[in-house]
Subunit: 706 residues, 2 copies
């Protein structure tokens, strides 16, 4: 294969992927829209979501431009004459491109979700399989768009530098690191704003609706119910979309930076390997999604897991082919020879393949660990449910203990993966092979991100569909279908979070190494006072940031509670059902307060590593980055798993155990669920973004800290 | 001053201190014992506490002997022939001595507390000041014994090696590192067992008593009430006593190890400085305690704070004298010259003095930070109280956010102290001066540990006195006195925890450096995979250990709940007051389950660093140690401050705010308080011990990891 065809392969597949998403999208759009009552609800949700996204991205756009200018000026003033400004424009420009594409990914996710919730609600009258297919295919649209866009952006930047500016290939990865920072920056605010909005609306609606007024969830009399449904779209869809967009981007860039170290041996192949593996992983995802079909009487989760395994198998095959063709150290003339030489242990290809398989296995392990800690059929959730019988406090104590316990297996898995992939890499016999082994493991883990993302989007779409069915007073059997899908969606959402934490942890080491490469340091010596202080501050900032996000939810929720109480007080007709509540006012107030509350944690996240870097320099910021990441991963695993377990402990009781609904145990379990909401849907996901932001930010600013 | 008189000074003062504790003790013993009803209650508590301590220390003794033998064998088999066994006996022997003295410290604390609770209860009929003085003087007995014993043990070991075995002074610190490990080992199990017992009994008594049966706290009809009161003595007194015994020991040894680096310049003085400063700090503490007297109508806390400030002033003076005489780099013939040379900036003495003052200021800062985050008069506690009005869940969410927020100021303070003291140390111009600066700061912070310890012991003693007054149905005005003292005790207990975390964090860096010295490595490079994996595991083990301790409380509490329910069920006369519950059965069952539950977390704590060290060697274990410590400090600050804030949010509401007692807000606040109990009294304090155990264990085993 010629060098140019290799360079053009990933962008072509990415562009084809984008086009192919239209196939899914047209199928979704062609589906029927349901009853006028449903359309009315969906319309209100759509308006609210669009209003939020518009205002949110306006704020983000301003912040982005400010940061881009600051980047240009900072590099311009500190760099060598001429050089500095050039570097500034390179970093600032790729920062803007990353931001822009991340923004588009978020908007597309939101638009798709607010259209397909109605389609799924409507499909639920044709039974489980129809609704399942509709929701998953809709999720796939966003998944493909996000994956393709990230890939297209990076590979276009690569082509631009290579052919428009004639930069040698090995120098390009260092020029596009601003792209990852841009993606992280937008993801941070998208996830923060969306995450705060969605949980503030949820908690606010529950506090007044379920607890004070005693009306059921999604009841149309609750003025905050539309805001709650909007939250799923802007938090879980747009927020998570931006989150995984930056994961893909950051990992691609990090791997390319490390690939440069292998340039003398592999040439272009080492640098382009991550992009090409990702491109074919996208193809595997599309095939995998087509295989998800629930058989007669089968639980939808089973069909989903089957599709996941098929995707995993295909991804492993893709990994095998790509490793054999691109990462071999035995020169071969023909493709057939390359395949044959794979089976020689003197070749580096099989070792990198094993490293990649380690990554794929890690992804599987995280799915099972998360399932164990948050699934209804295992000890942890049942222990929390049992503890609920002795009251609110024991429910919380038990959930806290379970969440912290779950960090054990999670971290052991990451450490084992890191160690194994590093070892496999060193067996390749290449210099820097160990590091590249961990990079390939990360690529393996993230290769099937498309399928995971589709499963993740499935959650809020079905959740919304359920809300639309309930609010439009559709027949009971449709509600049963959406309820079952909603339960499946809760599981897939929990699994995705496990996957996101795991991949963030694995990718972290890769990004650290890329940072050290950029900052031109080879040692991060914790025994030095500034490095130790940096590390200490890293751990602290993670806790402090989490505190801010949790508090933000509390503050925004209390504003919504006030609004709902006011509407109930001023319009007595709402509770009788004779008068409609003012949904738009609740949506508006939720939007304003969520956007206000996202600013402070966002600033802390961006400012902290910069301050440490400027004051204590590169090695200290590496300590900050590494220990901040370690703490962030552990804390996020705790928050996600505790939240998921509380949620399902409540559901376990609601299915008739330990006294069932309305029992004292159920009340205690509701408390746990409410506490878990900001843990698992605001703080935890924000931490994923935070730790990747630390990496991409320090990577982009490395030159300033030297 | 001759070398011998310098060497003998600390042990002589320590021995005198031990004797002087008898002066306080005789005054306590001579005080009246109160009514027969009171004596009966106190007797039951005393029997329960003794039974627990006897069984607990039997278990600990077995474990200690096993570990001591393992140490001897491990060193014997891995060391050079002859050398290894010798080293094994040195480490094993000092391990046993440290364990033994720590055990004695714990037993003394318990005996004093179980005697003085009755004396304080009885003194409360003579008014606030009489009871205050009694409780504080009793606490001082334990404080002096603990401080003196630790000092006496180390300085005796020093004298033994120096004069019985003729070892050169500079080689001795490395030989006595087993002592710190022994102290930590016993402290771990003392704190775990006591901490689990006290909170299991507390939560168990509250769950059935207050919530199910609706009887007030400390009501004699509750079968678990004596177990609850026993818990204060075995958890807060014996456990915290062992905890601070090891703090003092570990820090003394660490500072002596670092002092060796300054041996060429300071000779013996550098090594003995920590012991002598500690000895004079003890004298300052005794004087400080005498000054605590509440003026007419004054809040007892104010008197306590005044005593604290006087002790701080005296300690600063002691530090000045010791620095001037011992740490000067300008040779002077007479004492007068030494003092004069202090004021020369070419001299190293003033810089080390500043470093020590940094430590003292850090201690003050921690007291104020803790007070802000857990005091009723400030935003954090009031925010939690306000959040309680919207229910259980918002109370928990708010407390979680506040606890995490509090890590910010705590860590900033430690980092600032570390940085400043290091900088002062480097200004001394001596090689290794920076590290010694952080060591002197740690010594400064821990110099007034005696006074802090006395304040800490004050808490459980007054808590117990209140219980005795309540259970013996003594007059209302006595109850008012003990209630006020109890509130003061809650504050002092919270402050001590802040102090303990702060000193653990500051001491940590000193102990790391001592470890690196012992392990003969100079770099801890986080960019290496094994070191990073070690660091990751360190952070995880801290969370996992915390999970185990919290779960242990839950399990032990549920056993107690069952027992209390059984007694209520089988003996209907208890609730009518016609028949007495079987207190001893509840005590017995609490003892058994607490001792059973302390084993697993204890084994995890000891095994984890050893496994990392054996598998990944010294540099990785250093990563484990450092990041484990960082995470432990941050997590402990969170747990302690969240727990303290929840406790006082409840008290804030109970004093009539937001609806007062029995209001819905109060119920929510009770939930927060119950959740906070195992956080602040089991998990948090166990973490203090854990992180110091990591340090002393790795220090003692360093030679095995090279």
């Amino acid at each position: 294969m010629g060098s140019f065809s290799l360079e053009i392969l990933a962008p072509v597949i990415a562009a084809l992927g984008l086009l192919y998403s239209l196939v899914f999208w047209r199928a979704v759009k062609a589906a029927p829209d349901g009853t006028p009552a449903m359309q009315k609800v969906a319309h209100a949700i759509s308006i609210g979501a669009r209003a939020f996204i518009r205002r949110q991205y306006k704020t983000i756009a301003i912040l982005t431009v400010v940061v881009a200018l600051a980047l240009v000026v900072a590099y311009g003033l500190t760099g060598a004459p001429g050089e500095g400004w050039k570097k500034g424009f390179e970093v600032g420009g790729s920062f803007l491109l990353g931001s822009l594409l991340s923004g588009i990914a978020g908007v597309v996710s939101m638009v798709v979700a607010t259209k397909s919730n109605l389609k799924t609600a409507s499909a639920s009258k044709n039974g489980l399989n129809a609704a399942l297919t509709m929701a998953l295919r809709s999720g796939t649209v966003s998944a493909i768009v996000i994956t393709s866009l990230s890939l297209l952006g990076i590979s276009s930047l690569y082509l631009f530098y290579r052919f428009a500016l004639n930069v040698p290939a090995a120098m390009i990865p260092a020029l596009i690191i601003g792209y990852g920072f841009g993606a992280s920056f937008v993801a941070l605010f998208a996830q923060l704003g969306g995450g705060i909005y969605t949980k503030a609306a949820d908690v606010g609606a529950d506090l007044v609706g379920k607890i004070e007024a005693g009306i059921p969830e999604d009841d149309p009399r609750n003025p905050a119910v539309v805001a709650d449904l909007v939250g799923d779209n802007v938090g879980d869809c747009a927020g998570r979309g931006a989150d995984l967009f930056e994961s893909i981007s950051a990992e691609n860039i990090g791997a390319m930076v490390l690939g440069v170290a292998l340039f003398p041996r592999f040439g272009l192949k080492g640098i382009l390997f991550p992009l090409i593996l990702r491109a074919f992983g996208l193809v595997a995802t599309i095939i995998g999604v087509y295989t998800v079909k629930a058989k007669q009487g089968e639980a939808p989760m089973k069909a989903m897991v089957r599709g996941y395994w098929i995707t995993t198998g295909l991804t492993t095959f893709v990994l095998f082919v790509c490793s054999a063709l691109m990462l071999g150290s035995i020169p071969s003339a023909t493709v057939g020879d390359l395949f044959l030489s794979f089976f020689s242990l003197q070749n580096s290809a099989p070792w990198f393949f094993f490293a990649g398989v380690t990554g794929i296995l890690t992804s599987v392990a995280f799915v099972y660990i998360t399932d164990y800690y948050t699934g209804k059929d295992f000890r942890p959730v049942q222990a929390i449910a049992n503890a609920s019988t002795t009251g609110h406090a024991t429910n919380i104590i038990s959930g806290t203990a379970i969440g912290m316990e779950s960090t054990g297996l999670s971290v052991l898995t990451v450490c084992a993966a890191l160690f194994a992939s590093y070892w496999f890499g060193t067996q390749s016999g290449l210099p820097a092979g160990g590091l590249y082994g961990t990079a390939v493991a990360t690529m393996g883990m993230l290769a099937m991100v498309g399928f995971v993302l589709a499963m993740d989007m499935f959650g809020p779409i079905t959740d919304n569909a359920g809300g639309i069915v309930e609010m439009s007073k559709a027949p009971e059997d449709m509600r049963l279908v959406t309820d079952e899908l909603d339960a499946t969606g809760n599981t897939t959402k929990a699994l995705t979070k496990g996957y996101a934490v795991g991949s963030a942890a694995l990718a972290a080491f890769l990004l650290f190494s890329a940072f050290l490469e950029e900052a031109k340091i080879s040692v991060v010596d914790l025994a030095k006072v500034p490095v130790f202080v940096g590390a200490f501050l890293g751990a602290m900032v993670v806790f402090f940031f989490t505190s801010l996000t949790i508090r933000a939810v509390g503050k925004a929720a209390s504003v919504i509670v006030e609004e709902v109480r006011k509407q109930f007080r001023e319009n007595k007709g709402i509770m009788d059902g004779t008068s409609e509540p003012d949904y738009a006012a609740a949506v508006d107030i939720a939007t304003k307060s969520a956007l206000k509350e996202m600013i402070l944690p966002g600033i802390v996240a961006v400012a902290a590593p910069i301050i440490v870097g400027v004051v204590f320099r590169a090695e200290a910021v590496a300590g900050f980055l590494m220990v901040g990441t370690i703490t962030g991963v552990v804390l996020a695993a705790y928050l996600n798993n505790a939240g998921g377990a509380w949620d399902n402990a409540k559901k376990f009781i609601e299915t008739g155990h330990l006294g069932g609904k309305k029992s004292p145990a159920h009340q205690a379990a509701v408390t746990g669920d409410t506490v878990g909401d900001p843990f698992k849907d605001t703080a935890g996901p924000s931490l994923h973004v935070l730790i990747k932001l630390f990496s991409t930010l320090t990577l982009a600013l490395a030159a300033l800290f030297i």
